[in-house]
């Protein structure tokens, strides 16, 4: 899939637009830091199961901040966020890992652990669940081959290229098959052909049933997929279905 020279525009019907109750819902959510002005205001939207959407807006519009709200790294100063039907303010630290395991996150800076091999980085979510290596090894290897890192699984991240790191980070986010995948500028560090290949990878994941939210300011990338767009501007959100 990824090896195709030019990524064709994915047919609209191949992308799930989502239906039913959202796995993540925002209702009149606002966020301010300290006593400063609101950086995000009155956000109301939902991420439906098996849906695909771009989160976009100019630099500094608050895309990363919104992603942090989505994966419960920040708490809103007002409004309601429900994740898998639970009000995030009522999720205690003891229950939080259970919810996090259902959300995969691809960070803009990858956050691979440099002392672990690609294979070990991708296997990390299984390892923290206490699974034996024998139980997850075939799946990790298969996933690594799927993202095109079959030959690079035993090297350390410092020797990986930007695109390889990106794919390793995506594989790590997917290994436990999360219901939602959040990716922060996943194509920000790669050239356009690789960006298209990564986008196709996200499309495949979505077809496999994962709701995908991609934060990007790359208009060209978004034009390749006819998907829902969440546009942030001056702290407010507009949704283009």
């Amino acid at each position: 899939m990824i090896d195709r020279p030019v990524c064709d525009r994915v047919a609209p019907d191949s992308i799930h637009q989502g239906a039913g109750v959202g796995v993540i819902r925002f209702e009149n959510v606002g966020l301010r830091y300290g006593m400063g002005p609101e950086v995000l205001s009155d956000l109301t939207f939902e991420v439906a199961p098996r849906s695909f959407q771009f989160l976009t807006g100019p630099s500094g519009a608050g895309k990363t901040t919104l992603l942090r709200l989505l994966f419960m790294s920040l708490k809103p100063t007002r409004g309601l966020i429900t994740v898998f039907g639970r009000d995030t303010t009522r999720i205690g630290s003891r229950d939080l890992p259970q919810f996090r395991r259902r959300i995969g996150v691809v960070f803009q800076d990858f956050r691979l652990l440099d002392h672990l091999t690609t294979y070990e980085n991708v296997a990390l979510p299984c390892r923290v669940l206490g699974q034996s290596e024998a139980s997850y090894r075939p799946d990790v290897e298969e996933l690594l081959r799927w993202v095109g890192l079959g030959e690079r699984m035993h090297v350390l991240p410092p020797v990986l290229s930007g695109g390889e790191k990106q794919r390793a980070a995506i594989a790590r986010a997917l290994i436990t098959r999360p219901e939602v995948l959040l990716a922060d500028e996943p194509t920000g560090n790669v050239d356009p052909p690789l960006a298209r290949r990564l986008l196709r990878l996200f499309g495949e994941l979505n077809r496999l049933g994962t709701a995908v939210v991609i934060a990007t300011h790359d208009i060209g990338l978004m034009d390749q997929i006819d998907a829902r767009r969440l546009v942030l501007s001056q702290g407010r959100l507009e949704v283009y279905e």
Partner: protein, 329 residues
Amino acid sequence: MTTIRTIRRRRPSVRIPEAADGARPVTSEPSSRQTPIVPPQTIAGRALTLVIAIMTFLASLTIGAVSLVDEAADAWLSDIGREVTIEVRRMEGSGLEEEIAEAVALAQEFPGVGGARAVTDEETRHLLEPWLGAGVDLSALPVPRLVVVTISDPAAFDVAALAEAVGRDIAGGSVDDHDAWIDRLAAMARSMVAGGIAVLALVLVAMVLSVVFATRAAMAGNRQIIEVLHFCGAEDRFIAAEFQRHFLMLGARGGAIGGVLAVVLFAMLDLTITDSAGLPGGEQIDTLLGGFRIGLRGYLAVTLLVLAVAALTALTSRLAVRQSLAAIE
């Protein structure tokens, strides 16, 4: 199972794309040992081990020194407290040698006395030599002769009764039970031990602060690992346990290095003193301290110190993990 393979099984209509790099399946064998989640060898980790080793070494030296002084003080008080001296002065109308012999016989018959012997003229001259020089004519000086009485059973020995008997039966005789000397020596020994304990307390406080700050500094470099584990869905106790185990081993290693070095140093000093027993310096140290043996209490204290340092390091890392997680959440 929640992996791609499982997805394929559940949704047979969904095509798993072939390997993006076209690579054939890699059939690498499972690694025999997984890389620890917390990197085992980092500059911060090695620096922390060094700090712990140095501080444990200094604290162990202080513990050893305090233990040495404490045991030496006990020995001094015990040795001196187990002796009394009968002083016999030359009196007109009585023979000095006869009185001395009578004093020895009198003391030996007393309950609780292990033995009594008169200090010879030669020993007396040797005692006076630092002040009066060699070859002193004792008969020309009003120097009392001494009878050393060794007490074998302090409970049965009655020094007042001995003093009374000596005063009654020995012309020019009196008993010195070393009370004043023992009191001064005890006060000095207590002061030395108290001073040592104060220094030890300061060293321990310095050690605790150094270990805590060095551990926190080492932990600061691991913040990304904590975040990644957290966002991978690791439970707080899993993350805390990973770091606690790592830092416990690190603390134990550093503590053991410092503790063992201190014990080896004491053993070498003791050996050196033993080897130089015939030399003036060695003899004096041996007399004063009874060698550089820190004793069982000293070894136990050093062992406890090493364990405490390891526990402190682990606990500090655990608290640092908790703080990092609280900041993330």
